[in-house]
């Protein structure tokens, strides 16, 4: 279907998305085993946004993220061991245990500061766009939830980018489609009405469809690079049933890749999410039915991912807590 993805790239994308999922499953298990304080906002259910969008970025492209940042880190190829160690508050973590779950960053992979304030990073994405435009190479990608449109700064950020033609991709993960956990209260009929009213090109895409997101982002990035302009993409997501919990559990069970070809075994309280919305299962099933993947191939991918996560876990657990006497370091440059 997507001319721009080779079958090797399609499998690599699925593997990255599965790593994002298994990473979060490890985060849940580590919290349950009381290996750290265990308050998180997990990325489960968003893999078909961060995965295909961020896997396309180059070394000069800058991303800014939010409280729901774990998947963004893994999608851009951050070391999962270092990311897990950070969430566990260990010295071997991405930020030496200082930032934790909410403030992970890895500038070597193109991340700026990650904020846990709603609207905390969207403005910094504008600055990254300004810098890259001045420097002549690279673009900025603002990652944020629908809730950010509640905050006034989102309007200021969009307006500024539009007025000054800054190369910024606004990638909104809208998980407030329906249900009990709505994270925004927008009076506009459509979320994209807001950027559209500021003369910004907008797109809406199904956030559980990895290749649709890949293609929409691919075209947007090409245009942003060529024309230096902002583009706003709203990805629409069904909220993962465990996403509102501050101490998340394996709400929909540990991911079972065999459900990609055996739907009859989907069960449990949240079977509907697994059947209709789980982006990993959806993409694996699609690759199978299109002949891009085989069952054995999928099992082999999963085995590799599990091995990678076992190594990540071992690294994180072996890393000690940072020594108390370093508490005042790195306040100033």
């Amino acid at each position: 279907m997507t001319a721009s993805l080779t079958s090797g790239e399609r499998l690599a994308l699925l593997e990255r998305m599965l790593l994002m999922r298994r990473f979060e499953e490890e985060v849940i298990s580590a919290a349950a085993a009381h290996k750290y304080i265990g308050r998180n906002h997990l990325y489960i259910g968003h893999e078909a946004v961060g995965g295909p969008a961020l896997i396309q970025l180059g070394a000069r492209d800058v991303t800014h993220s939010t409280h729901r940042n774990h998947g963004h880190m893994i999608a851009r190829g951050v070391d999962p061991g270092k990311a897990l160690a950070e969430i566990m508050g260990r010295v071997g973590g991405l930020c030496g245990g200082r930032g934790g779950t909410w403030h992970m960053t890895d500038p070597t992979k193109g991340f700026g500061s990650t904020s846990a304030m709603v609207g905390g990073s969207i403005g910094m994405s504008v600055g990254a766009g300004f810098a890259r435009k001045q420097q002549g190479e690279g673009v900025s990608v603002a990652l944020f939830g629908d809730g950010v449109l509640d905050e006034g700064i989102s309007y200021e950020a969009l307006n500024y980018c539009s007025k000054f033609s800054l190369p910024v991709l606004f990638l909104c993960e809208n998980n407030s489609q329906e249900g009990a956990h709505i994270t925004s209260m927008l009076a506009a009929k459509r979320l994209t009405d807001v950027p559209a009213s500021l003369d910004i090109e907008t797109h809406v895409v199904d956030g559980s469809d990895a290749e649709a997101v890949h293609e929409t982002v691919r075209q947007a990035l090409a245009k942003i690079r060529a024309d230096s302009c902002p583009i706003f993409i709203e990805t629409q997501l069904a909220r993962w049933p465990g996403s509102h919990q501050m101490r998340p559990e394996h709400t929909t069970g540990v991911t079972d890749v065999t459900l990609a070809w055996d739907e009859t075994r989907i069960a449990g309280e949240h079977d509907d999410w697994v059947r209709s919305h789980d982006p990993i299962r959806k993409y694996a099933a699609k690759l199978l039915s299109s002949g891009a993947a085989t069952k054995d191939g999928l099992l082999a991918i999963d085995a590799r991912v599990k091995e990678q996560m076992a190594a990540a876990r071992a690294y994180a657990e072996a890393s000690p807590f940072p020594p108390a006497q370093t508490a005042l370091e790195n306040v100033f440059a």
Binding site: Y36, I37, R39, G89, R90, V91, G96, G97, R98, G99, G100, T101, W102, H103, S115, A116, M117, V118, G119, G120, G147, D150, E151, G152, T183, S184, M185, L186, F321, P322, P323, A324, Q325, T326, A327, L328, V331
Partner: protein
């Protein structure tokens, strides 16, 4: 006397206020009321009785602060629950430039009777952005009353006064105090602002402590009592207005002053209290005053880094011992 938690004490004060004054309206009601330890039927009763005055706004702190101020000037008495205090930083301009200045700039023609409630302090794993202690930032802005209760009774009585007050009031609840149990007077009552409370009498050292630090000082007092050291714990309860007379009177008695505060020491409430004592009761001091507060660095996520900078009973005990052996 009734035994209740800090959280339910505040809810009782809010309930009495809503019942007696139709101009009271709550912004950010759900997270203030739900899951705070009320029996389910009382929780429901809140929403049944006062539903039209319990509002859950968008995540728009700036306009919430501004509209509360605008509504207050027009005769309402808004109670705003911002959640974590750092969220209120989004509304800094509104709170400092508009709310705090409204009365003065109008030469007393306007008043803004409202409460800005926030959860503050080091909560455990909150990292730099979710562990803020903004008390001295607010104390530094003229025109805002500042309340920092430490017990369920004070939480209830001071919140009642805050809602009745004709001034804008910042009400800081330390997250770790929410489930603290205590004896509370029966029925509806209000505790006056500007009246310190001696939480424990003692002869050797005056320990001025606010909010969670009162609890830490009480724990420290137990340890020190076994060594024959009696600390006097003075809880100002409100920082603006501040009961300087009570603090100075205690220092006149003990001759020594320690201020325990969770915020960064630089330009803190602790700095202010020591300055006031230096100005008014320097003659009474037998030793230099001491601050037990945080060094000037953002708070880290890792538990080892968090613990070493967090003011607590242990650090109060150590500081008291040092003061007395010098």
């Amino acid at each position: 006397m009734a035994r209740k938690t800090f959280a339910t004490g505040m809810l009782d004060a809010l309930g009495h206020s809503l019942q007696q004054d139709p101009s009271v309206a709550v912004f950010g009601a759900w997270s203030f009321i739900v899951g705070r330890g009320l029996p389910a039927e009382q929780e429901e009763a809140f929403f049944e009785k006062y539903g039209d005055r319990l509002i859950d706004p968008p995540t728009s702190e700036s306009v919430i602060a501004a509209m509360a101020t605008g509504a207050a000037v027009c005769g309402m008495r808004p109670f705003v629950n911002f959640g974590t205090s750092s969220f209120a930083f989004e509304a800094w301009n509104q709170i400092i430039n508009e709310t705090g200045n409204a009365r003065f700039m109008s030469n007393g023609q306007l008043k803004a009777p409202l409460v800005f409630h926030m959860y503050c302090g080091i909560r455990g794993g909150g990292a730099a952005q979710h562990s803020q202690s903004p008390q001295s930032m607010f104390a530094n802005a003229p025109g805002l009353e500042l309340v920092m209760p430490s017990t369920p009774a004070d939480a209830q009585g001071l919140l009642r006064t805050a809602i009745k007050s004709d001034n804008p009031t910042i009400f800081l609840t330390h997250t770790k105090l929410l489930q603290w149990m205590g004896d509370t007077p029966d029925g509806d009552f209000a505790t006056p602002f500007g009246k310190a409370d001696v939480k424990r009498a003692g002869r050797d050292i005056t320990v001025v402590a606010t909010s969670l630090m009162v609890r830490e000082a009480l724990t420290a007092a137990e340890t020190l009592a076994k060594e024959g050291i009696e600390i006097e714990i003075v809880d100002p309860r409100t920082i603006v207005p501040l009961d300087t007379a009570a603090i100075c009177a205690s220092v006149e008695k003990t001759g020594r002053l320690l201020v325990a505060e969770e915020a960064v020491a630089t330009c803190s409430i602790a700095s202010e209290i020591i300055t006031i004592v230096a100005e008014h009761a320097l003659h009474a001091l037998k030793a230099p005053p001491v601050r037990v507060a945080r060094p000037s660095a953002p708070l880290a996520y890792a538990p080892t880094l968090e613990k070493v900078v967090t003011p607590d009973a242990e650090k109060i005990v150590a500081a008291v011992r040092r003061m007395l052996t010098k």
